[in-house]
């Protein structure tokens, strides 16, 4: 995970759970994985299913997770979220414990 990807992934995390949830240098693979689940749930909620293309089959690999979350982080930073606020709030509550566990590596 390079520094640009960390920056963009932290943008996604802070979009869901608040501006001070994490700094780029604290982003880890577990946090990226939870962020991707949250994005998929939020996009399902908003019926914007085409924003994150899923891998053809099986569990997404680590590089897929980082690239996809980083790409969407760029879009969020540019003001393009395509997620209804109501969906964002529900997903934030749904995944809050998991994200906090991932932050601590628990």
């Amino acid at each position: 995970m390079d520094s640009n990807q960390r920056q963009h992934i932290s943008t996604v995390i802070n979009y869901f759970w608040g501006v001070d949830t994490t700094a780029p240098e604290h982003v880890n693979q577990g946090m990226a994985a939870i962020a991707l689940e949250a994005l998929e749930e939020a996009q399902s909620c908003t019926a914007a299913m085409d924003l994150v293309p899923r891998p053809v089959s099986g569990k997404p690999g680590a590089s897929y997770v980082v690239k996809q979350v980083a790409k969407i982080g760029q879009r969020i930073a540019a003001g393009d979220t395509q997620v209804y606020e109501s969906c964002r709030q529900r997903v934030a509550i749904n995944y809050r414990t998991q994200m906090e566990m991932a932050k601590q590596g628990l």
Binding site: S44, C45, Y84, S86, R90, R96, T97, K103, Q104
Partner: protein, 169 residues
């Protein structure tokens, strides 16, 4: 904020101190006591406001945990919390909460879940249980703060034992 932190410290102290011989321990959160499975491996206060009490039974990341958290930011669509959940569960549709709030909650929490309400000591516990994913129970303690109880391994019977509820519908 400090009050929350203090409550959580007390909760953690209680979890540690109240080990029982019947393989449950007492967890205290938001002024309520709960019987949780004994022998946890990790107990901690998480979240920016330390408003999540985590009790974990595995060292594998993200697995076998119970958490209690306060979720005061929940948008209830201009309804009272209890009315909102009743509308979610369609046990009473007279409340007419904001549709987007109801639909989005159903999409994220109810879809594919076994949902309903348990009663215990004059309190409603709104549950959304999944066999394959995480399960959630929402309720409001006497302090008025909405609490989310979450676990990835408890089943309906375990939750009811933990909460001290006996029946559901």
């Amino acid at each position: 904020m400090k009050k929350f932190a203090l409550l959580l410290v007390l909760a953690i102290t209680s979890v540690t101190a109240c080990a029982q011989s019947d393989q449950t321990i007492t967890a205290v959160f938001s002024g309520m006591k709960f019987k949780v499975p004994g022998a946890p491996l990790i107990i901690g206060a998480l979240g920016q406001s330390n408003d999540i009490l985590l009790i974990k039974y595995s060292n594998n990341p993200g697995e076998r945990y119970i958490s209690f958290s306060t979720e005061n930011s929940l948008d209830t669509g201009d309804c009272k919390v209890g009315d909102f959940f009743k509308e979610i569960l369609e046990t009473d549709s007279k409340y007419e909460c904001e549709k987007s709030a109801v639909d989005s909650f159903r999409k994220v929490f109810s879809e594919g879940a076994n949902s309903g309400v348990w009663q215990g000591e004059g309190r409603d516990y709104f549950y959304f249980l999944s066999d394959k994913q995480r399960s959630f129970v929402f309720f409001v303690p006497d302090n008025g703060h909405l609490v989310k109880l979450e676990s990835d391994f408890l089943d309906a019977r375990d939750f009811q034992k933990l909460l001290g509820t006996t029946s559901g519908h």
